[in-house]
Symmetry: D2
Subunit: 343 residues, 4 copies
């Protein structure tokens, strides 16, 4: 259940609501959005909330039947738009985030950043902390990787997207990143969601590889109910029986999420299919399906990548993909940002 | 293993090969394609085929490592193009087949046919024989339904696509249909595949809802190895854990099949997602992904449909979908056929 | 909807019900069980059946909310027991059916039959018609295989279980087999289900690897509603993402089916796991879970089997499995038949 | 790659190996097991390890082809046995851990503890920290719940099993718990695995509902390579398309894991099937399959449970389950501990 406060409610009114709820044995959890504060209460029965709707400052007690609340279109009708270095994610444009799976060196990353910039991409991705299935695999450069990312931003102006894998690491990642990524394996790591939810930085939340769309929305609810409203949802493929692709990219998640939620949707075709040969096709399809953007793995020499080389585009393939996506994005009325600028 | 005969091989040479293989204890199975005859042999070891490559009329003994042979790009490099009432499936155009799940009445079907025609569709679909999960569900109008389909073709000129559900029914369906559809449940009904494989009519072969792409190609191999080379493969959603959609539409099957096979690929977003609200998004995505066409369920009054009403577009939604797909198809260089015609 | 006739209803009363239903525009489908005749009608509304319950000879009009009717425990409370050469499937005993995947030769099959007999098995399995994913794989010996099976029955007294893959082949298979098997790929081959439903021979219906338990029950409903009530359901593994096993054996299907239906449940651990090393463990588990029996693949020389060698037990492993299953079956009160006989 | 030190190697020899590996640019990670120390190195090529096998104190450089190392049967042939309040998990006995999903009150938990004890269970389970899909659901009593668990141990002597959900909470949970549980959602929460791996308390590691058996073994590898060798693996159902059960309990994981690893395997039928009516059947099946134990949810009043009531046994059903499992466990030679004690 959530209690929505009026836009012009006072702090005193909020305190009054909180004290009243506590007096009823509930644990109120206030969350301050851009225009509105809401108070979540866990597992309250209708009886326990009787009369709350008429307390001073309260606009309504939500009786939404969906399990998710603040991420719902019923809670907020207009789409959430997130500023990403000038591009508006969820707004008019189709945005492309690209870069290597892992930051390996300054040279590798800078080369990628320049190619992203040159081809019209809106952000640079790169992992400094890598969650790996085996303890014996390369786990990322850590803060050194974050510094390399910051240097690339310095040179190109591209905002950077990078993963955070534990609550401890949230402060250091938040210091460097423009977008904090929560990976598929951590979609239901609630301690991490709460820590990231307390930051005020945009988040890219990836769908777990065997998570339903409803569970993805509920994971996002952890972020919003902790006060972080700048959340992008990312479809990156689900695990199925099919073996021709690494995962099965569920592009129908795009219209489903658009119907249920006001949050922007990004598609990750690289993890979705797992083979570079199929990535461009899925980038085009994501744009046509109505996604707000894509996040794509690219590497100067995919065959030498320390991770995910098989699914990374080389620079030529990336440039061709961008050329192929541009007219499709335009055809659905969501041009790439560079198409809006004078040459 | 398959033995490929030279283009100008004689019937006598073919007989010679067959007799020789039989003498070695094998069961040769000749298949006559448009330009080429091949002879399949089951489970032959390399030793049993020694010397066969130098028999008169033999071009090569295929040593392909893929389990499928005649459907493979290695077997035939150029794409298969199938004529569908003037539209070329697998050729320059993006084709749209549409109509109701089941033929219910002359009035219902004719209304659909006119709408398909008016909006630029290339073929009319409609089920006369319906495979149903429950024995107590409506099983279709049978031959009466085929006659109604034929009447609609008569009036509109649209070729008709309709399902065949048992070997017995192949002759009657072949008499009326322009394209015989093999449904998802029957993808591995080998008696049916063989019966349809002996016809010389185009086939739309749907992927089983829990079949891999490789199994789909092997099912198509049953058709080609029986001599029917006019096969379209259809992605229609696979069964996964996700419940927001009826199935999970695997659009990555499009680039995967295009890489492995020369056969055209059609996408069925209606069964893929199962909710009319998500169909248009997936039609656009299918066009952008590189599919050769789509097959879409439409009904004059979806709420009253005897089957699949939830996923059927009404006439207005169908027209809007066509308007939305047209620029996307054009953006990837595969315009709808009507875009090629003078107004 | 189904109309259940009284036990002592006359044929005239039945005709009266049928004529009345036809007069109301319905298509009645009578089905004659051992003690009871029922009349199924497709998609009738409650209004169309008004007053039918009081026609002469009618016991009740079923208002079951489950999609399946005659297979339901609500329709028949006592378990269905099927006589299998003296063993009672679904009765007191736990039965073991075993033999090779495919009948390859008289010698191979007779050796298997003797081992099944010697170890206390109740039936001999062996495929004469093999549905194969590839058209180039061995498809079985056909009627010759059926004759070999009959010869093995002649010698050992074991009833034989063998697959039927097309409606055309039902008569010949019914002539030889004691139990007709419908394979996983054909679970929703409705023409086949109807043809087998018109026979009066026990059927082993395997769950499709893509099918829910409800769909399995509805496939069985096709058999019962066509008059064949001697149906055993077979869990044989479903397709999941796990790759350590060929399929994922869903043993929880045993208690689920037992709760919903009166039909016996057989487990096929060989196809379920796909590796001989894991078969015995799952045979024990099937007995403990409450299954009525198991069907197991065995081969004199698994490494030389023409199909499914990897999952076939050799004779020694089969004997050890039987020794391991016997005390488990006894521990759950369902001893093997030989335990009931004097030594 | 891992370097295995001799049993009698000195600390100086270990330091020598570590310095040598660091000099070669590798990052050695020593792990001290009961009888053996191993040094893991990430992503080392064979060339980089040349000569390491002949350094003083080194027994061998593992060239295992499996991705997991220390959890492998190749690394340690004899089964790992874990002492659980006198019961030997992985040893002679079949152990039962039971209790409520969540600790709700002292009264509720003590009642459960007494019933577990009375029926012959070996450990008490109960969640104090609950990972929940929705931020608005009950998240557990926290340390208060741990204190209630400790009180129940005090009274009954039963060791307690309880979940830890974040690295921060590891110290407090380790202070109270006898077995730290890592839940399915956290199976690939590497920060948590590393923190628990640094403890010296037994761990129950649950398979993720989206995880392959190989991934489960690799998650365990994180624990062992950090020095914690007392790991029990827990199969608790995987996510599939089937909807009759909450998950699909993959009992074939038992023989697969037994073949690959020396670690004990526990089965959780409650989460596996999700309905109390099916739990007993799967408890029996788990014992017969060769599992080392089960963990079962039980509640004094399932209908009033704050979580997972649908799948919890009431006290009567729990007692009946124990009576049913006892003879099955005995039949496979793994009696419950109480069967070994004089009455």
């Amino acid at each position: 259940m959530i209690i929505v406060m009026r836009e012009n409610a006072t702090l005193q009114e909020l305190s009054g609501v909180i004290r009243e709820l506590e007096a009823r044995g509930l644990r109120p959890r206030p969350s301050h959005g851009n225009s509105r504060t809401v108070v979540g209460v866990m597992e309250a029965g209708a009886a326990q909330l009787e009369g709350v709707a008429s307390l001073p400052g309260v606009e309504q007690v939500s009786t939404m039947s969906t399990s998710f609340k603040m991420v719902s279109r019923d809670f907020r009708a207009e789409p959430t738009v997130i500023n990403l270095g000038g591009a508006q994610v969820g707004g008019r444009n189709f945005v492309v985030m690209a870069g290597p799976c892992a930051v390996e060196s300054t040279g590798q990353l800078l080369a990628c950043a320049r190619q992203v910039k040159a081809c019209g991409g809106s952000a640079l991705r790169g992992g400094a902390y890598k969650p790996r299935t085996s303890p014996y695999s390369f786990q990322g450069l850590g803060e050194e990787g974050l510094k390399i990312l910051a240097a690339a931003r310095e040179e190109t102006g591209l905002p950077i997207v990078t993963e955070v894998v534990s609550p401890d690491a949230v402060p250091v990642v938040a210091r460097y990143a423009d977008v904090m990524q929560i990976g598929a394996r951590n979609m239901q790591n609630y301690a991490l969601l709460e820590a990231v939810g307390r930051e005020r930085k945009p988040v890219l939340l990836k769908r777990g590889l065997m998570s339903t769309i409803e569970e993805l929305l509920l994971a996002a609810e952890y972020l919003l109910s902790n006060g972080n409203h700048q959340v992008m949802l990312c479809e990156r493929g689900i695990r199925t029986f099919e073996r021709a692709t690494r995962n099965t990219l569920d592009l129908s998640a795009v219209p489903v999420i658009k119907q249920l939620s006001h949050l922007p949707v990004i598609v990750d075709p690289s993890h979705g299919v797992g083979h570079s040969a199929y990535v461009e096709s899925m980038c085009r399809a994501a744009a046509a399906a109505g996604a707000d953007g894509i996040i794509v793995e690219m590497h100067p020499e995919p065959a030498k990548a320390v991770s995910d080389g098989q699914q990374s585009l080389d620079f030529g393939a990336f440039a061709r993909m961008m050329d192929a996506v541009r007219p499709v994005a335009a055809a659905v009325g969501r041009p790439l940002p560079d198409a809006d600028r004078p040459a």
